[in-house]
Amino acid sequence: MFKHFINLQWKSFFRSASFKTNIAFKILMIFGALYMIVVFLALGVGSFFLIKKAGIGDPLHVVNKFFIYYLLMDLYLRYVLQKMPILNIKPLLYLPFKKGEVVKYSLGKTVVSFFNWGHAFFFLPFSIVLIIQDYNLLGVLGWHLGIMALFYCNNFINIMMNNKDIVFYPMLALLAVLGIIQYYGWFDITIYTGQLFNTLYYSPWTALIPWLLLVVLIVAAFNYFKKHMFLDGGLATKQTVARTEDYTWLNRFGNLGTFLKNDIKLIKRNKRSKTAVIMGFMFLFYGLLFFTGAIEAYENPVWKIFAGIFVSGGFLFSFGQYVPSWDSSYYPLMMSQNIRYKEYLTSKWYLIIIATIISTILASFYIYLGWDAYLAVLVGAIYNIGVNSYLVLWGGAYIKTPIDLTSNKKAFGDKQAFNTKTLLLTLPKLLLPLVVYAIGHYTINPTAGYIFVALTGVLGFAFKNVVFKMIEKIYKKEKYKTLLAYKQTT
């Protein structure tokens, strides 16, 4: 029986449309994966010595202290990213498999997920270093195994709380509150949880507890799924109560308003686009890394512009980047309806501009860190409006990745989105403003640098009509290829 399942899985993997990208990209991906592995290995080996050198205590204790956050972060990432096992069950339901087998297989599949064994890249070398450094062998083993069991616990917790936002968001809020009160030193939960994880080392037999917990969770998950394995039960897709909304205030913009209305609904009602907006919002805080001097490498003044671009352009990058793809599921309608490309593009452009302005206003808390910081954000915003807003629309014409609006899969980048043309287009998006600023900064003074970048933005803005005509032409040229690409949803 299991043979069949494995066979199906094998085929679905190798025959998926996304697997058939070109060989050059595969090689690039392998190098990327190797690089990440090396980084994690180095981190695993190196962190022991780093922590020791930093003199903040015993490395194992330090890791244990922050482990609770690591664990919760892991759960969060799983919630957002890990694919649920139930997706492919439907066609198996009426075949002669026992239900228990199907559930076992689906749950078993999640065990081999990268989200579980990925952690080994850090914890395995770290444990080995501990042993070499004369830590108690049995203790390290107990600790290591206990920790691994906890990751697997996360795996099954995530499966059971999937799609239950009621569980998820309060947890996220709790995490944020804990982090804040710890930062201000009011209450430190890690003292207690750290102790807990230390126990795994000092009394290795306690490692049995997380394993027992894991067994309980596995049984619970198994029963839960078996009980809910009906089309109208656990396998049903969630339906939300729909409300017709008019947004009549947008009518004054004519045809443009029609598209804007649609785009607002698109963002509001789909999981994937909501994630993009939340990501864009997160970028607001990206600048904190630069302006607070938290990271030494970012001290260089040129980086301020880099931060400014990201702070005001979060939405531009997370949403604008994929512009025609948001409409991929109904692109044939858009192409045969009474729509002019110019209006379509203009409405997306306005959306990006409005979001950039809102981000810039929200980012005014940077004034607290000094006017210089906010000035960088303002200048970045002008550049985003004047230049980057075109560039993302232009790049979008080449991306051609169909987007499944209802799932978060691939929300954090898709390999098809990286082709040479889009890569080349990131140069003017990110590097050009840095270069322009550097010229002004080093030949005259910092203010001149800001003025130069802002002027580039204003100049770009002035050429709006010309640029739009060009982008329109590219969209028309790419139309048939885009339609074909959007057809190939996996």
Binding site: Q239, V241, P332, L333, S336, Q337, L405
Partner: protein, 231 residues
């Protein structure tokens, strides 16, 4: 109204459509039948400029389809679910199409009120997004949306598939009315020979991309088609 000349579409070495000359006069209800892979959807996609012809071209009301976009205001279509916007409610979808076609909300409401029978109380006011409707109800919404804004050419690919019997019968009378009363050219494809012969005044049979029959519908048409496909 619609003239196609030397129209071919080739993928690699395989020719999927090869129409020498086809002329569809204004106001005709035109039926396209053929087995899977005959080229029906390919022809409709070419008509909507969703794919490029390998040779030849289609002229729709004096507009060459692959050269100008001026055919869009008077042409509408429902091919498949990619013509629906899943995250809208049916009402929002109709108003959206209406706005694109210069129709006020009142205009759209008036048109929709004529289709209450057809909707059978399952489309409007359901508090559901289009993506959550059943296949048949999605189709109903898509078909009606293609009637919005007084189009002169309406293209419907397999409109009868997935519909329940009552709705099929209603749709037939709607299509007949359209072609008779308002000088609308209706292009319909179907696998159901009975439906097409009842609805269309002219039927063209495609086989592997070629036109093999071009019939003015009469009492004998159904027999003729059945013997063609049965033999």
């Amino acid at each position: 109204m619609i003239t196609s000349q030397n129209l071919t579409k080739t993928y690699g070495s395989q020719t999927v459509l090869n129409i020498d000359h086809l002329e569809i006069p204004k106001g005709q209800s035109f039926g396209l039948v053929g087995n899977n892979g005959a080229g029906k959807t390919t022809f409709f996609s070419l008509l909507l400029d969703l794919i490029q012809p390998t040779t030849g071209s289609i002229v729709n009301n004096e507009v060459q389809v692959d050269a100008s976009e001026a055919w869009k205001p008077f042409t509408s279509a429902f091919i498949d679910e990619t013509f629906l916007i899943g995250y809208l409610t049916p009402e929002e979808y109709f108003y959206f199409i209406g706005e694109l076609r210069g129709q006020s909300k009142a205009d759209v409401d008036e048109l929709l009120s004529g289709f209450e029978d057809f909707f059978h109380g399952e489309i409007l006011g359901q508090k559901k997004y289009l993506r959550d409707l059943s296949k048949g109800n999605q189709k109903k919404a898509g078909i009606v949306a293609s009637f919005i804004g007084h189009p002169e050419v309406i293209i419907l690919d397999e409109p009868f598939a997935n519909l329940d019997p009552t709705t099929q019968i209603r749709l037939k009378s709607i299509i007949r009315d359209l072609a008779q009363n308002r000088e609308v050219t209706v292009l319909v494809s179907s696998h159901d020979l009975i439906h097409v012969t009842e609805v269309c005044e002219r039927i063209v049979v495609l086989n592997k991309g070629d036109i093999v029959k071009d019939i003015q519908t009469s009492a004998e048409t159904l027999k003729e088609l059945e013997s063609f496909f049965g033999g």
